[in-house]
């Protein structure tokens, strides 16, 4: 553990610390960021109205749109000249989001990344190969300085040129690999193509992040490389990597709650969900100087577990995000994500193929039909077996989604595609 004195606080101590820091953050943001002052004034809320952690729901949300409207520096609480560094998150549409750090922010960030790595069992004796891109993206520099802080030996390889990466891995014998999970898989496949025995390489831990990945992906990576694969989470709007990370029990990612206050809301009603239910993760920073962020809607769908972990930490654990709130469907009052459908199909040998969900109204009720393109694995010349396969798919969906869907098999390539991918949701319900 990198900072056991805070990492082992109990729930009461965590919440006490959070309240004190929340009050400070709200005052600080109100007094130093015009956008926050205007928002709070418009709903007649004063910083002193925040008296308990529950009072946070009185505060307005912050979204990517706020960053866009205040581009580039409007959300900063400090004059940009006084800052130590600028990063940016790549926007999939339009301008990127600009984020800034004071010297103290960078120090906090390094501590949190050191904590993230130590959480997964990385120590000062480790040699770390970082294959994240170095640049405006927070992944490269974020992991770099955190691992240096931890005392590890850092090799800043950056991204690209897989053959060279493999040469460095075989020659320099790193013990930890830092990159995206998909790139790690690419490295593993390249090793195989070059006939290098993956068990001959020195890696023992993988710290993978910057994109969502599934448990199936973890299995694949741990089979293809001699590593244990750990997930971590973060986003540049609130800091970068180091918001939460898995411990060696791999039972959710511990949120570093002394620096971040999190909520889970229903993305539709914006109300808090019941404890332990899935919803959208909302983050408030508690110690940021350059860019305090209040109630940032991450769009990531996850759930929280606040029980004590086997590792000794009480810090809440978030599950791997199961999707983005933008992709959420509400079917007969139940929230459904495309990733859950994929999970259900993945659970049945051979089914994984293109699919589409068609939502319709039938006498004011929602009717949901899942169209699955048939493939050789799930086509039988016997009707009995064909029906059995359909029932299996329905059963698996019901188990995972909690609601029943109609399932129809359709011919291959018959689903509407955009940019090569089948369109996943067709909503004909109107509003």
């Amino acid at each position: 553990m990198f900072e056991p004195e805070v990492e082992l606080l109990n729930r009461e101590q965590i919440e006490e610390l959070q309240l004190e820091r929340l009050k400070k953050t709200v005052h600080y943001a109100y007094n130093n960021v015009r956008a926050y002052k205007e928002k709070l004034d418009s709903i007649k809320i004063k910083p002193q109205d925040i008296k308990s952690l529950q009072d946070i729901i009185k505060l307005p949300f912050t979204t990517k749109e706020d960053f866009r409207q205040n581009y580039p520096y409007g959300m900063f609480a400090k004059d940009v000249k006084s800052l130590a560094r600028i990063h940016a998150s790549s926007g999939t549409t339009g301008k990127s989001t600009i984020v800034g750090y004071t010297k103290k922010d960078l120090d906090t960030w390094s501590n949190l990344v050191a904590r993230l790595a130590a959480c997964a069992g990385v120590g000062s004796d480790d040699i770390v190969h970082i294959a994240f891109g170095y640049g405006l993206f927070t992944g490269g520099f974020g992991l770099h300085y955190g691992l240096e802080k931890l005392g590890a030996t850092v090799i800043p390889v950056s991204s690209g040129n897989t053959r060279r990466q493999i040469q460095l891995i075989t020659d320099l014998k790193p013990t930890v690999l830092v990159c995206t999970p998909s790139y790690a898989l690419h490295i593993a496949e390249t090793l195989r193509k070059e006939n290098i025995d993956p068990n001959s390489i020195s890696l023992r831990i993988g710290l993978f992040g910057a994109e969502p990945w599934s448990e199936q992906m973890r299995k694949k990576l741990e089979e293809a490389l001699p590593i244990k694969a750990y997930d971590n989470y973060g986003l540049s709007e609130v800091m970068g990597p180091g918001v939460s990370a898995e411990c060696t029990y791999q039972n959710g990612m511990h949120i570093f709650e002394d620096h971040f206050l999190v909520e889970i809301i229903d993305p539709d009603t914006l109300d808090p969900v019941k404890e332990g239910e899935y919803g959208e993760l909302v983050i408030t920073t508690l110690t940021k100087e350059a860019l305090p962020v209040i109630r940032y809607r991450t769009r990531d769908i996850t759930k929280l577990d606040k029980s004590k972990c086997a590792c000794g930490r009480y810090m809440a654990r978030m599950s791997k995000p199961i999707g983005r709130s933008d992709d959420m469907m509400i079917i007969r009052g139940v929230n459904v994500f495309p990733t859950q459908i994929e999970e259900a199909l993945f659970n049945i040998e051979g089914v994984m193929s293109a699919y589409q969900i068609v939502l319709e109204k039938e006498e004011a009720l929602d009717k949901a039909t899942l169209l699955v393109e048939v493939n050789e694995n799930i086509f039988f010349d016997e009707m009995k077996q064909q029906r059995l396969m359909l029932e299996k798919i329905k059963y698996e969906l019901k188990t995972i989604l909690g609601i029943e869907l109609d399932v129809k098999l359709v011919e291959p390539y018959s689903l509407e595609r955009s940019e090569g991918k089948a369109k996943r949701i067709i909503d004909k319900r109107g509003i």
Binding site: F379, D381, L409, E411, Y413
Partner: protein
């Protein structure tokens, strides 16, 4: 003699023109359909048939992105008269064999009927029945 007949099965959606498309592809490849059966539901159907050139049919349909499978069935000669089918099924019943599905066709030119049988275990079925039933081979579907 190879008693296993190669049957082609195709998944077709219950949409206008899909069945027609299959027959069109077969015609374009100069394939003669000898026996055919369609098992269908509201949404989809399983089209099964025996042709003179099963390999060519399989490849041609695959090329057009149909989901196609080859499977092995037995073809039994049946007398084209009342009771012909019943007597045959009686023999199968007595042998305690499970039939997955059957379909038939009449060969008018030759003056007999043929029954196509899909068993759970084709080898077991053939061994138990070969002395009581006259089975046809793949050649039959090419020449006659």
């Amino acid at each position: 003699m190879d008693y296993k007949i190669t049957q082609i099965s195709v998944f077709i959606e219950n949409k206008k023109g899909r069945f027609y498309n299959v027959t069109k592809i077969l015609k374009e490849n100069n394939i003669n359909i000898r026996a055919l059966n369609l098992a269908d539901t509201n949404d989809f159907g399983i089209l099964r048939f025996c042709v003179n050139k099963p390999e060519v049919a399989y490849e041609a349909l695959k090329k057009e992105h149909f989901i196609v499978k080859k499977n092995e069935i037995l073809a039994a000669l049946m007398e084209d008269r009342p009771g012909g089918l019943m007597e045959l099924l009686e023999i199968i019943n007595e042998a305690d064999l499970n039939i997955e599905y059957v379909y038939t066709f009449v060969n008018a030119k030759a003056g007999h009927a043929v029954i196509l049988l899909k068993f759970e275990n084709i080898d077991e079925a053939y061994e138990k029945l070969k002395n009581k039933i006259h089975f046809l081979d793949q050649e039959y579907f090419i020449e006659n």
